[in-house]
């Protein structure tokens, strides 16, 4: 209590001395002698911590559901510890091998002993099967060598281990196996990125292009980009006049139309996509009508679905509102007087539109195209349902590796590349248009 009183007294004198309410260092003080900045922080602290608390649930949610999974994905695409988990001692020893001839006898001994331990191991991620799968990515078809050898390894009790191993299976007498084992014995690898970009390590450890038959990812990335661009462009062409109409109609009519635009939004995605199947398939509504009016023969029914066309049509329909909404919200704010002013100054309707109206809609166009393009590039369900073989996008390949082939590392590598592509596009976009000019309404 005493100290408090003392402090106050001191402060009082200091303020009375410094008429301008600043202390010796020129820091602004309040009339009570506390530095102004400090006081400001004090008074706004409560409001700020409350604001932070309000966002806390969302921040936590984003960290758990967004930041952590993406971090995991990035990590998994380069991290595959199958080799070191299954063969911990061998992995350390083989690092010293220079890759010429065969590893030393001690390394072979460690390999055999690690394999014998792994055979008994039931721990997830540390079984021989894990190693066999990982090796199979590196050398297709090598899986059985590991599983079958592991069953027979218990017969080996003493050296020389190298000869004993070669006796079990002649395939071990192959430097390529050991070179790949050395590579797999590292926790971190870019092998999955190579695979995602249609490349691989050759038998000598050089990076080469994969066989033509296996080059599916890069072309699919380009196909995904091309289809997304086409879809975005079609959305823009269709949405622009609709948004314009919405923005000039009287409120009651435009609200009604807006509901029609939003109606598909409220319908299940699955329902909408299956509806397109019913309409577009070879025995579907459109083909039936075309045959009925005699435009095409019954044998000449057009294949409009289970190919790229189907993917484009269905996705344009689904993504259209994402183009209309930002466009509409921007057009709504363009006063009619701008066009009138342009006309009064002698501009023809076309010139007035081109030089005044259109440039003012650019923020909406920018927002709409960005939104639709990024949604399209990662779209999964619709291409999976109506894309057939040809209309599959990169997300479908990612899903395949996550769900079917269980090569999560490759799926993660593909996903990471997709993420990088989107970020690069976003960066480019910022350079060209300027993100601050975007208007999502």
């Amino acid at each position: 209590m005493r100290i408090l009183i003392d402090c106050r007294g001191k402060n009082m004198t200091s303020t009375t001395l410094d008429q301008g309410n600043t202390n010796a260092d020129g820091v602004l003080l309040t009339s009570d002698g506390i530095p102004l900045k400090q006081k400001l922080v004090q008074t706004t602290k409560k409001a700020r911590s409350r604001a932070f608390l309000l966002t806390l649930p969302l921040v936590l949610f984003l960290i758990i559901s967004f930041v952590v999974p993406i971090g995991q994905m990035l990590f998994r695409s380069v991290h595959n510890p199958a080799g070191t988990n299954v063969l911990p001692n061998f992995a350390v020893a083989i690092k010293n091998w220079d890759g010429i001839g065969f590893p030393s006898e001690e390394t072979f001994e460690l390999f055999v002993k690690d394999m014998q331990i792994a055979r008994k191991n039931r721990e997830i991620g540390k079984t021989v099967g894990n190693l066999a799968t990982r090796m199979n990515y590196a050398i297709p078809g090598s899986r059985s060598l590991f599983t079958s050898t592991s069953r027979k390894l218990s017969t080996i009790t003493e050296g020389p281990y190298k000869e004993a191993l070669f006796k079990i299976d002649k395939k071990w007498d192959n430097q390529i196996i050991w070179r790949n084992l050395k590579r797999v014995s590292s926790d971190y690898t870019i092998a999955f990125y190579l695979a995602a970009l249609d490349h691989k390590y050759d038998d000598n450890g050089n990076i080469v292009a994969a066989e033509e038959l296996y080059q599916i990812y890069v072309s699919n990335f380009f196909k995904t980009l091309r289809l997304s661009a086409i879809i975005t462009f079609l959305c823009l062409i269709i949405a622009f006049p609709v948004s314009y109409l919405l923005s000039v109609l009287p409120l009651r009519t435009s609200n009604l139309l807006m509901i029609l635009v939003l109606l598909p939004f409220w319908t299940s995605l699955l329902v909408r996509t299956t509806a397109w199947i019913a309409i577009l398939q070879t025995q579907g509504v459109i083909n039936d009508i075309l045959v009925f009016i005699g435009l095409i023969s019954d044998d000449g029914r057009i294949q409009m679905i289970y190919n790229q066309t189907g993917t484009i049509i269905a996705m344009v329909h689904i993504l259209l509102p994402f183009m209309i909404l930002p466009l509409f919200s921007v057009m709504k704010t363009i006063p009619v007087s701008y066009m009138r002013a342009a006309r009064s100054m002698g501009a023809t309707p076309f010139t007035a539109y081109r030089r005044v109206y259109f440039p003012l809609t650019l923020p909406g166009i920018a927002a709409g195209t960005l939104l639709v393009f990024i949604l399209a590039i990662g779209y999964y369900i619709t291409p999976a349902l109506v894309g057939g073989e040809d209309g599959l996008l990169i997300s479908n390949l990612i899903a395949y590796h996550i769900q079917k082939s269980l090569n999560w590392s490759l799926g993660a590598a593909l996903g990471t590349i997709l993420l990088v592509v989107v970020l690069v596009l976003y960066w480019l976009y910022n350079k060209l248009v300027g993100i601050d000019k975007l208007s999502f309404g």
Binding site: P335, A342, S344, M345, P349, V356
Partner: protein, 362 residues
């Protein structure tokens, strides 16, 4: 004014948006070259619609509009060559000030050098010569307003329309801009049709004012005429402050008449808009024409009870109850020798019969 003298001519123009009500009823208006005409009226009176029809953004439902002797009913806006200043300026936000001004010249395919010169001259005219590179959003309201005026004038139109161009400015700036626009008009000799609901603005700037109400021009005359000699009760009410006394015409003699107010008081008034004895009339009386302690020569002598005094510096507003009307206002000039007034006091007031106009009843 003969038909070929009129630069702008509205002839029996009618406008309806819904086919049921007329927004503009039978408009006839001639505007001479170089004239500054203001359309003044409350919102919804049809004045802006008239301007839009003249600019070509709204078609006239019936009747003809002539510009320089030619009917322009079927001429699209961009071929009318009319400059226009909009209510919120309508400066193109994605163009710099200079680009905004260059726009009308560019669409006329003017050469680059000539465009640049004219833009600079227009900017100098509104004293914004150094602001050409700025965006409109970087200018203050008053500066934007000047750019809008310059843009409407840069392509040298013979006619400029202004749709409440000063509505968004604060009072002081508005007054300043009124003079600037007036001076530009005088300097360039361009014909201006100006729309506003602000009577001070109309009176300050215009050669003639057309008072609009209910789609009809109630009176078209100079500012002085409008104030001094309103033709009907609406104009009297709308322009300036006005005391209204209701009564019945007792006697008509030439330009004078005698009116018996509803409380029985007899008033001598100037006959403006009454035709017969027994007709109801509203007497219009400007507050500054009423004298407290009037000289005996004034024809009308009454008493009033002071109910409220409002001190306004240059004058004092005295609200009193006169002949049953408790909203009766008298303006007393703030002179050194002024008589002391108190609320609740009974005073003698009076006015000349020529200052008291017998008009129709609204």
């Amino acid at each position: 004014m003969a038909a070929n003298d009129a630069f702008v001519r509205f002839e029996k123009v009618q406008k309806s948006y819904d086919g049921e009500t007329l927004v503009v009823k039978d408009l006839n208006l001639d505007i001479a070259k170089g004239e500054f005409v203001t359309m003044l009226g409350p919102s919804g009176s049809g004045k802006t619609t008239c301007l839009m029809m003249l600019a070509g953004f709204e078609p006239a439902t019936n009747g003809d509009i002539y510009l320089d002797g030619q009917s322009i009913n079927h001429v699209p806006p961009h071929k009318r060559g009319i400059g226009m200043v909009f209510q919120n300026y309508a400066l193109f936000p994605h163009m710099s000030v200079a680009e905004n001004l260059a726009f009308p010249l560019q669409v006329r395919n003017m050469s680059k050098a000539e465009t640049q010169e004219k833009v600079q001259r227009a900017l100098d005219m509104v004293e914004l010569g150094i602001f050409g590179d700025r965006r409109p959003a970087q200018l203050s309201g008053g500066q934007q307003q000047r750019v809008a005026v310059a843009r409407a004038l840069v392509f040298e139109p013979d006619l400029v329309l202004m749709d409440e161009p000063l509505g968004a400015l604060d009072k002081q700036l508005r007054e300043q801009m009124q003079y600037e626009i007036k001076h530009i008009h005088e300097r360039l000799g361009v014909t201006v049709v100006y729309v506003t609901h602000d009577q001070t603005e109309a009176l300050t700037m215009s050669d003639r004012v057309a008072v609009f109400e209910d789609g009809v021009i109630q009176q078209l005359s100079s500012a002085q005429e409008l104030y001094e000699n309103p033709k009907n009760a609406f104009v009297a009410q709308f322009i300036g402050e006005n005391n209204k006394l209701l009564g019945v015409v007792e006697k008509i003699k030439g330009d004078d008449c005698t009116v018996k107010l509803d409380d029985g008081t007899i008033i001598q008034a100037a006959r403006i808009n009454v035709n017969s004895v027994g007709e109801r009339t509203s007497l219009s009386l400007r507050p500054e024409r009423i004298e407290i302690d009037p000289p005996k020569s004034m024809q009308n002598q009454l008493t009033g009870d002071i109910e409220e005094l409002i001190y306004l510096g240059d004058h004092i507003r005295v609200r009193m109850n006169v002949a049953g009307n408790s909203e009766f206002i008298v303006k007393v000039r703030n002179r050194a020798d002024k008589r002391e007034l108190n609320e609740g006091q009974k005073v003698n007031i009076g006015w000349n019969s020529s200052d008291c106009k017998a008009l129709d009843v609204l």
